[in-house]
């Protein structure tokens, strides 16, 4: 089974770093690499309220079990993120990508 997973971006909350239609390869989360998550990493996680929806944001800060995520878009109305729903539990993270801000 591949340790990588590919996703295509929808929406503008990660603009200008990522635009709709762009395809990104992420590392699938495992118990081991979950510990490697750091600020500025990109993460794919389950929507906190809606089933079957995966979200794409950047980690702004981390604590032991949760992390605060937000969009890159400087327009505050363009991203629904931890500013709205609070920090997400790390167990909701499905995949990640190491990268500093473009």
């Amino acid at each position: 089974m591949s340790k990588y997973i590919e996703f295509t971006v929808k929406g503008y909350s990660m603009y200008p770093s990522y635009t709709p239609g762009e395809t990104i390869i992420f590392d699938k989360i495992t118990e081991q690499n979950l510990k490697l998550l750091r600020e500025n990493d990109l993460v794919v996680f389950n929507h906190p309220f809606k089933e079957n929806i995966k979200m794409f944001k950047r980690i702004k800060s981390l604590s032991k079990d949760s992390c605060f995520v937000s969009g890159d878009n400087p327009d505050p109305t363009s991203s629904f993120d931890s500013h709205n729903f609070g920090p997400i539990n790390k167990t909701n993270i499905l995949a990640y990508k190491k990268e500093s801000l473009k």
Binding site: T8, V9, S13, M14, K54, F56
Partner: protein, 145 residues
């Protein structure tokens, strides 16, 4: 292979913010405060006139309090939902403007002060200027009253 999508949407809130709601409430507070100040007290021996006076004054006070609360709620939504930490870098007085405006809402709710109600409307104008400057749009200030 089926393409899998990840959402980078705003998806939850409507994203529609406008300080006009706070401005309308602040104008209502000022209007009610003026009406309360202008209402003359009738002869206390005239029971009918006294009842009418008390009824009118109570209604003015009730509306003033409701609108002051509404104004504060609208300001808090802008402060805590719309504005983000990066806006503080370009507008370091952001917190002070909202703090003072919210405090004035409380003062206007409790008092009958034309000075404070006028000051509240002026503070809401500061919020208007700040908000539209962050949005990069030139929107003129106006009042309905």
């Amino acid at each position: 292979m089926k393409k899998q999508y990840i959402e980078a949407h705003c998806d939850g809130p409507c994203g529609i913010y406008d300080p006009a709601s706070a401005r309308i409430a602040a104008e209502a507070v000022l209007s009610m405060t003026k009406k309360m100040s202008d209402l003359s007290t009738p002869d206390s021996s005239n029971s009918k006139a006294m009842s009418a006076y008390l009824n009118t004054m109570s209604r003015y006070a009730s509306i003033k309090e409701q609108e002051a609360k509404k104004c504060k709620d609208e300001l808090l939504v802008l402060w805590t939902d719309f504005f983000k930490p990066e806006h503080l870098e370009s507008h370091p007085d952001l917190h002070e403007i909202f703090w003072n405006a919210a405090k004035l809402c409380s003062a206007c709710k409790v008092e009958v002060s034309i000075d404070h109600a006028t000051e509240l409307l002026e503070k809401v104008k500061e919020v208007h200027d700040l908000f539209w400057s962050v949005k990069g749009r030139d929107i003129s200030w106006y009042t309905a009253g």
